[in-house]
């Protein structure tokens, strides 16, 4: 993989979005969301596919449900793990259907997407207590809470607000509790540990359940929606890659909630790489040994550097090609120029994450939409600096050039652009630094780069990984800045670099 990683990256980044329907001998692309459980499942799925004659790659930690669903429909990815509750409430929101897996499967089928049965666990909201406390009070199910109105409940803000969270729960179970606090998930665990809080909301496969020795209270009135973990795939795999689907079916029903919680805990709390945790699980469950490649830190940094450079150079190059003419035009055509500056300025105000997500329906996931977004962000500094650089040339100098009889193109090329060169170069430099910084967000839509370890590091609360992306990104920004300062020496004419002193 490493030798061909750049070639493959280029291929995936540029070619994939162009060919929505892929020939079957291309690798199967597995996607996952940017939380640990999804990444582990994605890894398990990919390694399972690799047991077949198909090649597989894993585009991990993509931005969110919408990003993955669009990518699946667009053919940028072929398979990814999802939850039935998410499919029902987010992906197919507004589509009328009966409850149950069959209805869901049918609704997906009309969209060209297949769904396999549950992997074996239901990752839904649950209420948890320290096993010690629960056992003392003889609390086993949520109904039991009614008998203890003085217990302090600590819920995430999302759970407090969602209609299928606390408000509905309180009503259905007739819970009398008044001491209910909204707080951060991590704080909730800490509050639980030191006894300030007695009941918290969790996901039933959270890694911490094991670690804090929580007891999950039984949802005896079946209030919480079903979030069965399932595999979604493009239906054309049924005919193009039947052995992949039949191999994936072997996974069904093999992972229960506590097994998943264990796997999560190995990654989150024991800090093992997902690929190793997945391979170990496959080995224990099926007796086969997937070949996994664990890259050293330096190999990873090198790969991310190549990916990052690829994004930035292409985006910056394209931005220069468009922004220079725009800036020149603006400087000499005041009316349309103001319009151009305004439009380019407005683009700059679009939040980068939003811009990236807007790109997905148009350009799919991967390098192309990221490059396009970076390209848009790169325009303003160059257009503006070119404009001001040209505008601030003394009128007498331009008039003298024209009065010599030089045609306008020669005036532009021989006089105006060299005189504005310092400003233009500064604009390109700013643009490059912005690009390098913003490109770290590209990982959210599968573009790779330094954002990948940062994203993983944030997810796993692993400072080492965050720095693995952040430090090289900062170094690259500084290096590029230095490079531009050096390039001033041969791009800015000598006469402009002189001090008055002689």
């Amino acid at each position: 993989m490493s030798r061909h990683s750049l070639i493959r990256f280029c291929f995936v980044a540029l070619a994939v979005p162009l060919f929505a329907t892929r020939p079957t001998d291309d690798p199967i692309v597995v996607g996952s969301k940017k939380f640990t459980e999804s990444v582990i499942l994605g890894e398990i799925i990919m390694q399972t596919v690799q047991q077949t004659s198909f090649e597989a790659i894993h585009r991990r930690e993509l931005g969110g449900t919408r990003v993955l669903w669009n990518a699946l429909q667009g053919g940028d990815i072929h398979i990814y793990p999802e939850y039935t509750g998410t499919i029902r409430k987010e992906i197919l929101a507004g589509v009328a259907m009966d409850s149950g897996m069959a209805a869901l499967r049918e609704a997906l089928r009309t969209q060209g997407i297949g769904m396999l049965s549950s992997l074996g666990f239901n990752n839904t909201y649950a209420l948890g207590m320290l096993t010690r406390t629960a056992d003392t009070l003889h609390i086993n199910k949520i109904s039991d809470l009614k008998r203890f109105p003085d217990l302090v409940l600590g819920f995430t803000n999302e759970f407090m607000d969602r209609s299928d969270g606390w408000p509905g729960l309180k009503q259905v179970y007739q819970l009398p509790h008044t001491n209910v606090r909204g707080l951060d998930h991590d704080l909730a665990y800490r509050g639980l540990a030191n006894g300030n809080i007695h009941v918290i909301d969790v996901y039933s496969t959270d890694a911490e359940i094991d670690y804090y020795q929580l007891k999950i209270l039984e949802d005896d009135l079946m209030y919480f929606p079903e979030y069965q973990a399932v595999i979604l795939y493009r239906l054309n795999l049924d005919s193009n890659a039947p052995e992949v689907i039949s191999d994936l079916k072997m996974l069904l029903g093999t992972i229960d909630a506590s097994a998943m919680s264990q796997l999560n805990s190995q990654v989150k709390l024991e800090r093992k790489p997902e690929s190793i945790v997945a391979a170990k699980w496959i080995n224990e469950t099926f007796g086969v040994t997937p070949t996994i490649e664990v890259k050293s830190r330096w190999q990873r940094i090198w790969q991310h550097t190549l990916e990052h450079l690829f994004l930035v150079t292409i985006a910056l190059g394209a931005a220069i090609l468009l922004a220079l003419p725009l800036g020149i035009w603006s400087a000499y055509h005041t009316k349309t120029g103001q319009g151009i500056l305004a439009v380019v300025g407005i683009i700059q105000t679009i939040p980068s994450l939003a811009l990236l997500v807007f790109m997905i329906p148009l350009l799919g996931i991967g390098g192309l939409p990221a490059i396009f977004a970076l390209f848009l962000y790169g325009l303003l500094p160059i257009v503006r600096n070119t404009y001001t650089g040209l505008k601030s040339i003394e009128p007498g100098i331009q008039e003298s050039a024209t009065a010599l009889g030089l045609p306008w193109l020669s005036v532009l090329w021989k006089i105006d652009l060299p005189l504005a060169s310092r400003a233009i170069l500064a604009g390109i430099k700013t643009s490059a630094v912005i690009c390098i910084g913003t490109a770290t967000l590209g990982a959210l839509i599968g573009a790779g780069g330094y954002g990948q370890p940062i994203l993983t590091g944030i997810r796993l609360d692993n400072m080492g990984l965050i720095l693995e992306g952040a430090i090289p990104a900062a170094v690259m920004a500084l290096a590029v800045q230095g490079l531009f300062e050096l390039s001033e020496r041969w791009l800015v004419p000598r006469g402009l670099r002189l001090k008055r002193s002689d």
């Binding site: 008039e399 009065a403 009889g405 030089l406 402009l496 002689d502």
Partner: protein, 270 residues
């Protein structure tokens, strides 16, 4: 960039052009928005003569010069150069026959002295030896030391810069020189030196020269003919003698009077 737009129209030619006129302006006016910088005026500049434009600040001297070299487009009237009406299509070629020098020199700061002077000749693909020869001739003419050719404008004194600017204007051996306060930014000693040199150059080259100045002394020093302007109009045109002895307007007398006082004050403080 002041380039005459393509929709520039040639009005009917109303005034016959005298063959000896290098420049002739007929009914030429110029407005900036609602402000009239030049009211319609007729004026001609005879071949081989040095004419001086003078008048209070803002009276339209520079505007007139810019119209003549096509940096501005007149709102009315025609301008003939060497018996051809200037238009957007021919102005670029005609400019090869005009040299233009402005107050601060308008030198290109990113180009060396040599590059500044030869930029147009190189654009026209002159041979290296022709360029060298012309450069040496001009250096001798303007008494500019050859060892400073590789310097940049920032490394020159004000007087040296104006000499370079003049060489650049003379490079293609133009028929006319349009000089907009070429000595305006220089201190008095250097200015006196350069005045003398300039006059000698003019006499030697026998070119048609239109020179703008603020200073009546300078005007009478250079000009066969002095054109006094005020608020976008020509007040009087003639030799310094005519202006002093037969003023056609009280303003002429006032202007000369005021200038004399200045000269006296300057004279008392050498």
């Amino acid at each position: 960039m002041a380039i005459i737009p393509a929709d520039f129209e040639l009005p009917l030619q109303l005034h016959p052009v005298k063959l000896s006129d290098m420049f002739s302006l007929n009914g030429v006016s110029k407005r900036f928005g609602s402000f009239t910088a030049l009211h319609p005026l007729d004026v001609a500049f005879r071949e081989g003569e040095t004419s001086v434009l003078i008048g209070p600040s803002g009276c339209g001297k520079s505007t007139l010069l810019k119209l003549m070299i096509g940096l501005l487009k007149p709102d009315s009237g025609t301008i003939h150069f060497n018996n051809q009406p200037i238009s957007p299509t021919n102005i670029q070629i005609l400019r090869h026959q005009m040299g233009y020098v402005i107050q601060e020199g308008g030198l290109f700061p990113h180009l060396s002295v040599e590059q500044n002077i030869t930029v147009m000749a190189r654009h026209l693909d002159w041979s290296i030896s022709d360029i060298r020869q012309r450069l040496a001739d001009l250096s001798a003419l303007t008494q500019f030391p050859e060892n400073l050719w590789s310097r940049y404008p920032l490394q020159l004194s004000g007087g040296q810069r104006q000499r370079v600017s003049l060489m650049r204007a003379l490079m293609l051996d133009p028929k006319v020189l349009l000089l907009d306060e070429p000595l305006g930014a220089l201190d008095p000693m250097i200015r006196a030196d350069l005045q003398q040199d300039l006059k000698e150059i003019f006499n030697q080259l026998e070119k048609t020269v239109v020179l703008v100045t603020h200073d009546m002394g300078e005007a009478s020093f250079f000009g066969n003919e002095i054109i006094l302007m005020r608020q976008g109009k020509i007040v009087q045109k003639g030799t310094i003698k005519t202006l002093v002895n037969q003023p056609t307007d009280p303003f002429v007398k006032d202007f000369i009077q005021a200038q004399r006082q200045v000269t006296v004050i300057e004279g008392n403080n050498p």
